[in-house]
């Protein structure tokens, strides 16, 4: 089954810059793939199209069997609830505890608080931060903060997990830990797409790599 399909996708910004040109690829359900390329190659734009933070200028994007070009504005929140996202700068809220940060997606989806608490603790346990749930994330190290961001991305058990430079600010050991965490989620069936320019790490991990250059897909393989 197909998790993500891009068909001849182009994205041109209002200033005339072509961020993506004629992009074709499919990601099968249960796959783990890296998205590489220099900054400005179109990695973030590609992820934004999947999240519907941007709409393509031409071509079609499918997530599962959902045609995103036909998805009405009102349905966007419900589309996003089915995807987990990890950001480079983790985007944690420092006005609340680690627990409440991770619980946010569940609150938004309207989970029962007791049920949500179980899921939050399960997610924190998976990233090894169960003991830190009451702390403010600002007191954590950057590696720990990134793991809180990951816990938030997977707390609602999405079938599709996206990550935009998840190891951008981390030292090599921590980066490898984070990548192994993504591999674990992939092993239990989650489709994972990670944008990263950490080529040495990516080459060691031996997964599919999509390489972007100037908005075009120039290499796709292992």
């Amino acid at each position: 089954m197909t998790a993500i399909r891009f068909s001849n996708v182009g994205k041109r910004y209002p200033n005339g810059h072509d961020a993506l040109v004629g992009l074709n690829f499919t990601l099968e359900s249960g796959e783990l793939a890296f998205l590489t390329g220099h900054s400005g190659a179109g990695k973030s734009t590609l992820l934004k199209l999947i999240m519907l933070m941007e709409r393509p200028s031409r071509g079609g994007v499918w997530v599962g069997d959902r045609d995103l070009t036909k998805l009405p504005h009102k349905q966007i929140p419900f589309h996003r609830r089915e995807i987990g996202v990890v950001f480079q700068n983790h985007q944690l809220l420092f006005d609340r505890s680690v627990f409440d940060n991770v619980a946010l997606p569940l609150q938004i989806s309207g989970y029962d608080p007791a049920d949500a608490a179980r899921r939050v603790r399960a997610a924190l346990d998976k990233v090894g931060l169960l003991s830190r749930e009451k702390l403010n994330p600002i007191t954590l190290s950057s590696g720990e903060q990134q793991r809180v961001g990951i816990a938030r991305a997977i707390v609602h058990k999405p079938k599709l997990l996206l990550a935009d430079e998840p190891t951008g600010n981390l030292d090599p050991d921590l980066s490898e830990d984070i990548m192994h965490l993504f591999e674990q989620f992939n092993r239990i069936g989650t489709t994972v797409l990670i944008a990263s320019h950490d080529l040495s790490l990516i080459n060691r991990l031996r997964h599919r790599v999509l390489h972007l250059q100037g908005g075009r897909l120039v290499a796709d393989g292992y």
Binding site: D65, E82, L93, G110
Partner: protein, 340 residues
């Protein structure tokens, strides 16, 4: 495939809560959080959001109090004016506002002639009532109600004419004037005065005052809208990150909007409560002189404060204006905060 994540959630959800009906469900239904669950969650969310909006208000007591003071004054002013108008209305309702015609009779007429003349008037069918104030009665009243009784010593005899007060059956101004002229033409009558003008003037004055109060009320309502709107706009700016992250993880526009709308509601409600206190205080301050003034004209008149209906209306107007101001600010600014 796209619906599978929900399916996954649904499955583990049921496994974790055995008390829920485990009847096997198929198809689209299986992917959803149950309707009852969702409406419970919705209500819980509303209560929680309202509570947090209230706590946010208290978290910056001084700033909130300043805003509330402005709102209270803007709401109290119309409240005070309308209450004052209500009092004047009540005052004039207590007064006899039927048009009167006063006939001042020729002083040379004998008491007998006056008596028979007033009885003749009683027979006319265009008059509703006839009241004779004899010359002696007039003199007594003059002594009782004015301080000029010394003045009377200058006269050898009673200088006052007998007066007959008439209430005409019709109150059409044109007919009244015709009647006045007819009565003035009678030989016994020295002068016929139609006491209509002051009633008309009072009516016009009240209409003007009421219209002005509405205009002022409208302007002050606009003030409330803008003050709440501006306050909410600043709250939105300070919570920009939270809005972005929430939208990223699937918050609907309604979900993002809700806390700010509740802030507006609280501002409106507390502003109205403060306004009520201010208006009551202002009325209490003027009550004594008004009472004294009223006692000169009317017995048993009591200054009316804001009654339960007016108080409730003030609260409701406050809440609606607060909600409206927040709605305007949220509609205008949330659109700009979009991830991407």
């Amino acid at each position: 495939m796209a619906t599978e994540p929900r399916q996954h959630q649904g499955a583990s959800r049921r496994a974790e809560s055995p008390r829920r009906s485990d009847a096997p469900r198929r198809g689209a239904e299986q992917h959803r959080i149950g309707l009852a669950d969702r409406s419970r969650g919705w209500l819980r969310h509303h209560i929680e959001v309202a509570r947090q909006a209230l706590l946010r208000l208290w978290s910056t007591p001084l700033a909130s109090l300043m805003t509330l003071a402005v709102l209270a004054i803007a709401l109290a002013l119309p409240g005070f004016i309308f209450t004052a108008l209500k009092n004047v209305d009540q005052l004039t309702a207590g007064l006899d506002t039927d048009p009167h015609i006063s006939l001042y009779l020729d002083v040379s007429l004998s008491d007998e002639r006056i008596d028979s003349f007033s009885r003749e008037l009683l027979l006319r069918d265009d008059l509703a009532s006839v009241e004779l104030i004899s010359r002696d009665k007039g003199l007594e009243d003059f002594k009782a109600y004015t301080r000029f009784d010394d003045l009377l010593e200058f006269f050898d005899s009673n200088p006052l004419p007998a007066v007959i007060t008439l209430i005409p059956r019709h109150d059409d101004p044109a007919q009244l004037q015709v009647l006045q002229q007819k009565l003035a033409a009678l030989p016994e009558v020295e002068e016929a005065r139609l006491d209509l003008e002051w009633v008309r003037r009072l009516g016009a004055f009240m209409a003007l005052a009421e219209r002005s109060a509405w205009v002022l009320g409208g302007l002050l309502a606009l003030t409330v809208l803008l003050v709440v709107g501006n306050t909410v706009r600043m709250t939105i700016e300070s919570r920009r990150d939270e809005i972005l992250v929430s939208k990223m993880v699937g918050a609907t526009d309604a979900w993002v909007r809700r806390p700010f709308l509740y802030s507006g509601v609280w501002f409106g409600a507390f502003g109205a409560l403060l306004a009520w206190l201010l208006a009551q205080l202002a009325l209490a301050l003027i009550s004594e002189p008004v009472q004294a003034l009223a006692a000169l004209y009317l017995n048993g008149y009591v200054v009316q404060g804001l009654g339960p209906v007016e108080s409730l209306a003030l609260l409701l107007i406050g809440i609606l204006l607060g909600l409206g101001g927040a709605w305007l600010a949220v509609g205008r600014h949330l659109r700009d905060i979009e991830p991407g």
